[in-house]
Point group: D2
Chain length 465, copies 4
C-alpha cells in the first residue's frame, strides 16, 4: 500500500533547535517522505523564524530532497490538513524563562525552567495556548498527531490528552536518550546490548537496566557511577553532582538527571543561587548562546546543523521527535520513553494521568509498558508530584488563584508559608501579558503594588518581551 | 557477543503436538541455535514419548541440523542447566479430560477442557505438579525461562509466578494467533497491515484492531463478521456460532472464541450435550484423533509434521512457543499475546494477577502493554473470572474443599446449589489419583459412596489411566 | 435550639405498606414532630390511595396527634418545601411485577422482583421516574432528604446519587433488620448483646457478628444455622432452604437471604418454576394478599396496622424508613444498614458506587463504615453484580439496547445466548407503556411480532395496567 | 449480663500525664469498674514512677473508689491478664526529644517531636519497643486492647497492627478534641450542635463541619478564623499563626494544627530556630515544666490533677484514652477520631494503612467512616506523608540505613542532599543507646568521628539519659 507523503507543521518554528529537527527529517527521508514543512511562530518571534527558516530551507536544498519549508505567523493556515504537528514553542520567549528563574531565586528558592515555581509558571503560560492549538486541530486537521516537546512536556501533554480530549498526542523528552547513551559505557557495553525500562513522570522518572539475557544490571551500573569516571548521560543543563550512593543502592533503580533537584535539593539550590548571584541564571546563559547560534544561522553558507547546538541541554529532543514520527508513520514498534496516558502502566497513579514510560511506538501511537507497583519512597515522590501537576493544570485552565497557591505549597521546591504567596504574586505580575486566565487577580496584585525587586526582572518588565 | 547454544527441555514431551514444536525450532534454527533437546514424560506416557521422540529425531535429522533429542522419564536429569523449559503436559492424560467433560455434562452443565468444572479440575491436577517443577528448576536451572502452554494456561502461569515465585515464566495460547490470521481477510487486509491489541485473561480476552494509520477498524471487522462469509479465526475445537450482533456492536471490542461459552452459554451447552449424548465429547473425539496421529508417527519414514495435526484446536500453540523463545533469546521486541504479570496493564485487576495481554517480548521477557480501564460489562466479566481463578488456585494448592466449592459456585458455567457440590464431589472421586491435596476429603466421599454414574467415566475408573 | 416541624411526602402513597409507615411515625412522634403528611400517587393508583389514605388519617386521629394526611395525584404540589421525601412506588403496579416474573420463567429462567431479568426491568421502569422526581426536588425542595425504599433499592439509589447528582439520598432495605432480629436467638443472645457489621450491595450483602467483648461469633451462628431449629430471619418472601454448609464455613461471613438465588440457584429456580406452573408466581400471590389487605383497609373502623401486613416480605421496610428519618432529624448516630455512596467502604468497588453497608445515621446523613477488602469469592460476586448494575442503570437512562443486552448476559440469573435476547425483547414489548427510553427499539420489535406467549402475560397486556 | 471488672496497665506509667489519666478513670468509674491499675516504667524512669504512682494512689483514695495502683518495672508481671494496655512511654525520656529537636535545628531544619527528622527518630526508637510489648501481649493477655498514645501515634499504631499483627489496637490523639472544642465558638455554636468529620493521618488530618441539619458550615468557620478573634483550638505546643486564607478557602476543609509545619513551613522553621537560639527548644522548655510538675506531685497533700497540667500541649490525650476504653467496654458507638486500619476509608491510601479518621467506637473497636476521595492537593500531601511513614516503619524494624535515608529525603521537613545524611548520621550516633537495630551502621559512623556539635546535645551525651 502506497503511503501518502507527509505534511509536518512545527509550532514555535523559530526555535534554535529547528536545525536539529531538519537534520532528523533529512536523515530519515527515505522512510519518511515529507511533502511540505511549515514553521509557525508568533509576531514576537518573526525575526528568528525568518533566520532559522532560511537556514532550514538551505539544509533541505543541500540534502538533495525536494522539500519546501513554509514560514508563517498564521497558525491556522499551517495546520490545514497537517499529518503531524510538533510543538516546541516558548510562550514569552527566553525572557519569560529568566523571570521564572530569577524571581524564585531572589527569595531563596530554586528557579528552574521545568521544576519548582518556574516550571509551574511555564505551565500556566503554555497550557492555555496548547489547548487553543488543539481546538484549531479539531477543526483543521482532525487526524493529525500532536508531538509535543514544549516544556513542561508532561503537564502540557496531560492538558492536551485529558483536558483537551486529543488522544493522538505524544510528549517527548531527551533525558532518557542521554541515559541510554551514557550508561552502557559504565559497564563496558554498547547501547544495543542492554534493555532499558523507564517509568515515572516527565523529568521525574526512574529506570532499570537489563542485559540481553534478562539479568538485572542496574546495581552494577549504580556501582560504577561511583567507582568509575565515565559520564552517565546527565543532560548538559543540569549541574552534575553525584546522588547519595546509599540512596541509589537502596532504590536499585536509577533516577533521572532532574531528580537532583529533589534528592540533592540543597546542593542544587546553592549552585543555582551562585549562578543567580554571579554569571546569571541558566536562562540568561542560554539567551547568550541562542544569540550566538542565530548569528551562525544567518550565514548564508551554513546548510547543516552546527556543532554548537549539540552542546545544549535540549540536544536529542528534536531527533526524538523525528524518530517518534517515523515510528508512527511506519508502525516501527520500537521502544521509546514518552509521555502518554498511563492506562495502568504505573498502578500507583490514576489510569487517566499522563506518565512517561517506556512505550512501543506503533501506527496507533504509544503502547505503554506496564511497570507495576513502585516501592514506598518512589511511590510517595511520584504521587506528590502528580498531585502538584494536577493542581497546576487545573489552575492553568481555570485561573483559580487558590489552586495555584495549593500547587505552590505542594511543590517540594517551594518553601511553605507566606513566602510561597509572595513568589506566586510577583510571578503573576511579571508574566501578566501571558496569563489572561489570571487577569483579575493580577489587577488586584498590581493595585497592591506587588512587583519583583530583582533588577534583571525589573529591566525585562520594561525592555523585554 | 557470541551467544551460547541452547538447551531446551519439554515436560510432557510425549504430546502429539511435539512435531509442531520441532518444526518450529527447525524453522528458526539459524536464529536459535539449539544444542540439545530433552523430551520428558511420565511412566504412563512412556510409549507415546518413545514414538514421538523417535519421530522428533527423524525431523531433526532430516533438517540437516545436528541436534540430539534426548528422551527421559527423569525430569531432574533433563532440567539440569536448561535454558528454556516448555511445559505441555496433561496430568491424567486424555482420560482425565474425558472425565472433566462427561461428569459435568451428566448433570446438565458444560464439560469443557479449560472452562467450567472441567477447567477447574484440570487446574487442581496441574498446579501441584507445575509447582513441583518450579522447585526443581530453582535447584537445577535457576536462570531458565519457563514457557508454559499447559492448560489452563492462565491459572497455571499465575500459580508459577505469584505462588511459586518464579518470575521468568510466560504463558502461551494459540487463540490470539488464530484471530490475527483470520480477521484481516474480513476487511480485505493482510495481517501485517493491521495492529492488534489484546487484553483479558487466557481464553477470556478481547481485542481491538487498528490500521497502520491508527484508525480503529474494529467496528468494520465486527460488521463483516455478520455481513460476510470468511472465517474469523475461531479455534477448530470451538463450536463456531455467531455472537449476538447487538452485543458486539455495543462492546466495540472483539471477544475471543472461548467467550462463546459465556455469551452464548445456552447454545454451547446444548451443542455439548448433543455430543455428550451422541458421538462423544471433544476429549473422546480427540482421543481417537490422537491415536491416529500416533499411528502416523510410528511410520519410520515420516520426518515432517503431518497435515492432520494442523486441523486440531491446539495448532499454532507450539509455534507460538518457538516464536516466544526466539524473541527472548534474540531480544526481538515483537508483540505477542501472552500470559504475564499484570503490573497494572488491566487496572481493573490487581497488579500481581496474571493476565493475557499484548506484550513486547524482549530479552528480559514480556513487556505488557497497559490497556486502561475496561467498560462496565467487560470489567464485571473479567473480575468474576479472575476471582474464580484465585479460588481455584488457592484450593489447588491447599486442598481446601470449601474454597473449591466457592470456586464452583462462582464459575458461571456451574449451576448454583447442591448440584454444584454433587459435580464437585463426583469429580474429586473420579480424579482421586491425581489430587493428593484433597486426599482426606476424597476418602470421606468414597466412604459415602460418591461416584459418577456416567458409563464412560465408570469404565475409565476401571480401565483408564 | 427549637427544631421546625416536619413535612413528609411519600411518593407511591397508595402502597399497602403505608399503614406500617404511619405506625412508625406515630410511635416516634414525640421525637419527630410531623407537621403534615402528603401521600402522592398516580392516576392508576387513585383508588388504593384513597382507601389507604383514609385509613392513614384514621390512624393519626386515633393516635391523638394532630397530623393531617393530604392525598394528591399532583407530585409537584406535594413536594413543595418537603423536608423528607420517601419513595415506595411501583411503576406499572403489581401487574408489571407479574410480567417481570412470568416472562423469564416461561423461558426457564428465574423471574423475581429484584433479581435477574425482572429486577433489571424494574430498574428500567423506575430509574427514569426517580430521576424526574429528583429534578422536581431540585426545584421545589432543594434541602429535602430522599429516603428511597423503591426496589431495586440499590440501583435506584445509585441512579439518584451518581447520575441525578442528589447527594441527600439514603436507600433502605428490610433484609438486614430481619437478620439482626433472627440470628441472636441462634446463640441464645438478644439483639442488643451483639454487634453486626454488614457490607455488600442491596439484596446482596454479607455480615459478620461480634459479641460486646469484640469476639467474632459468626462461626458459632453459622454452626447453629445447621445444628438448631430457630429461624434465622430470612425474609418471608424468600423460599427458605439452607445454604451449603461447607461454603458458609469457608466464607465465615453470613450471606443475606437473597444470596440463595445465586448460591442455591438450581433449587431456587426449580421452586420458582413450580410456583409458576402451579399456584402462580410470588407477584400473583401478593396481588391476592394485597386485594385482601385493601378490603381490610376499607373498614372505617380499622385505625391500626393489621396483623396480616406483618407477614409480608416487605415488613420492617417502612419502619426502617421512620427510624432513618428520626436518626437524621435528631442526629442520633445509630448504626443502620443502608444504601449510600461507597466512598471506599468496600475498596473492591469504585468510591462513587452505591453500596449497602453498616452506616451511622447522623444529621448529615449516612456515615458508611469502611469494611476493607473482601476475600476472592465475595470480591468476584460483588464486582460482577455491580458491573451488571452499572450496565442496567446506564441502559435505563439512555435506552441503549446493546447495553441492556450486555446487562442481561452478565446477570448470573440469565442464561447466555439468543435466549437472553428473546427474554429481553419480550419484556421490552410487555412493558412498553413504562419504557419511553426504549420506544424505537420496542416499535421495531413489535413490527417483528415479538410478544410473550405466557397466557397470564397475554391477559395482562389486554386487561392489566 | 454482668461485666467483669477491668485490669488496666499503663506502659510509661511514670509520665507526668498520669494524673490526667487517673482523673479520667475516676470520672468514669461508675460505667467503667476498674479492678486494678498497673503503672509500668523502666529503670531510668523509676523515680518519676514512684512520685506519680504515689500521687495516683492518693487520687483514687480521695475518690472513694477502692482501686489499687500497682507500680512495677517488670512489664511482664503487669501485662498478665490485662484487659486494656495503654502506652504513653517515651524511649530515652525528654533528653531524647531534645536531641530530636536540636540536631536538625543545628543544621537549619525543623526539629520537632513528631514531625521531620525528630519525629522519624522517635519512631526509630519506639517501634522496636512497641513490637516487643505486642509479643508479650500475645503471650500474656491475648484478648487485651492496646490503646496507644505514644507518639508518633500513627506510625506506632501502623507498626502494631500491620507489622505486629495485633488488630485490637487503637491510636489516640488530642488534636481533634481541641478543634472540636474550639471551632464551635467561631460560629456561636456549642460543640454538640455540630457534626465533625475528620480524615487523614495522625497529626496530619483535615476535617469538615456540618450543622445538625446537615448543612456544611466549614466555609463559615474558615471565614471566622480570619474575621474573628476566638481561639480555634490549636494545641498549646504549636506556634499559633494563621494559615494562608486563600488556601483554606480553596480547600474548604480545615487542616489540623500540625499542618502549619507544612503549609507555613518557613514561619514555623524561623520560630523554631529562634527558640533554638534563644530560650531553648520545646523539649527543653517541657523538661523544665515537667520538673515543676513532679515537684508538685511530690506534695503528699496533692490528690487531684493540678491546673498546670492542663496548659500543656498533650492535654486531653489521657482523657481521650479513658473515653475510648469506656466506649469499647460499654459498646457506646460514639464517634471519636482515632488511628485505625484504613479499610478503604481513605481510598487514596492502601486498605491496610493506618489512618486517623472519625470512627464509631464499639465493643469490637473502631468502625472507621469512609471519607471518599480527596482533592488533588490533599491527596498528594497524604500520599507523600504515608509513603514516608512506610519507609520509616520499615527502617525502624529492619535497621536498613538506605531506607532511613530515603525516608529523610522524602520528608518535606528535611532538606534534600548531603545535609540530610549529615543530620541522619548525627542523630543515629546521638541516639545510639536506643537504636539496637542500627548498631553496625552506628559503629561505622562513630569510627568516622560523626557526632553532633550542638553544645546541648554534647552535654546530654555525657550527662543525659
Amino acid at each position: 500500500m502506497e503511503k501518502k507523503p507527509i505534511k509536518i507543521v512545527t509550532i514555535g518554528g523559530g526555535s534554535s533547535y529547528t536545525p536539529e529537527l531538519m537534520e532528523g527529517f533529512i536523515n530519515r527521508y527515505k522512510e519518511l517522505p515529507i511533502r511540505e514543512f511549515w514553521l509557525v511562530d508568533v509576531e514576537d518571534g518573526r525575526e528568528k523564524l525568518e533566520i532559522v527558516g532560511a537556514m532550514a530551507q538551505r539544509m533541505w536544498d543541500a540534502s538533495g530532497y525536494d522539500v519546501k519549508v513554509h514560514l508563517t505567523l498564521d497558525r491556522r493556515e499551517a495546520l490545514k490538513d497537517a499529518d503531524f504537528v510538533t510543538t516546541q514553542f516558548r510562550v514569552g520567549l527566553l525572557d519569560a524563562r529568566i523571570k521564572d528563574e530569577r524571581i524564585p531565586f531572589s527569595h531563596g528558592m530554586l528557579g528552574q525552567e521545568t521544576n519548582g515555581a518556574g516550571g509551574m509558571f511555564k505551565a500556566f503560560r503554555t497550557i492555555p495556548v496548547i489547548l487553543d492549538i488543539v481546538e484549531d486541530m479539531k477543526e483543521l486537521c482532525p487526524n493529525a498527531w500532536l508531538i509535543n516537546f514544549t516544556n513542561p512536556s508532561g503537564m502540557v501533554t496531560e492538558a492536551v490528552i485529558k483536558h483537551g480530549g486529543w488522544k493522538k498526542c505524544i510528549g517527548l523528552c531527551n533525558v532518557p536518550v542521554g541515559a541510554m547513551m551514557g550508561e552502557p559505557k559504565l559497564i563496558d557495553k554498547k547501547e544495543d546490548e542492554l534493555i532499558f525500562q523507564f517509568a515515572g513522570l516527565n523529568h521525574f522518572h526512574w529506570h532499570k537496566v537489563f542485559d540481553k539475557q534478562g539479568n538485572d544490571v542496574t546495581a552494577e551500573i549504580i556501582k560504577n557511577m561511583y567507582d568509575r569516571k565515565e559520564d552517565d548521560g546527565t543532560p548538559a543543563n543540569i549541574h552534575n553532582i553525584k546522588f547519595l550512593r546509599e540512596q541509589l543502592e537502596q532504590m536499585n533503580i536509577i533516577p533521572c538527571g532532574y531528580h537532583r533537584y529533589y534528592y540533592l535539593q540543597d546542593e542544587m539550590l546553592k549552585h543555582g543561587l551562585e549562578e543567580f548571584n554571579g554569571e546569571g541564571t541558566r536562562g540568561q546563559q542560554v539567551k547568550k548562546t541562542e544569540a550566538e547560534l542565530f548569528e551562525l544561522y544567518k550565514d548564508p553558507n551554513l546548510n547543516y546543523k552546527p556543532e554548537q547546538l549539540t552542546k545544549r541541554g535540549g540536544t536529542h529532543y528534536s531527533d526524538a521527535a523525528c524518530e517518534c514520527i517515523n515510528a508512527i508513520y511506519n508502525d516501527k514498534k520500537i521502544p521509546m520513553v514518552v509521555s502518554t496516558q498511563n492506562n495502568g502502566a504505573i498502578p500507583d497513579l490514576a489510569p487517566d494521568s499522563i506518565v512517561e514510560v517506556t512505550s512501543y511506538i506503533t501506527g496507533k501511537g504509544a503502547m505503554p509498558v506496564a511497570w507495576g507497583k513502585l516501592d514506598s519512597a518512589e511511590k510517595g515522590w511520584i504521587q506528590v508530584m502528580k498531585a502538584m501537576e494536577e493542581c497546576v493544570i487545573k489552575a492553568a485552565i481555570t485561573g483559580d488563584y487558590g489552586l495555584a497557591l495549593q500547587a505552590f505549597l505542594l511543590n517540594p521546591q517551594v518553601k511553605g508559608g507566606a513566602i510561597a504567596k509572595t513568589v506566586l504574586d510577583e510571578m503573576l505580575v511579571a508574566h501578566a501579558k501571558y496569563l489572561p486566565q489570571f487577569v483579575e487577580k493580577i489587577a488586584e496584585l498590581k493595585e497592591q503594588g506587588v512587583e519583583s525587586k530583582d533588577p534583571v526582572v525589573m529591566d525585562l518588565m520594561v525592555n523585554g518581551h
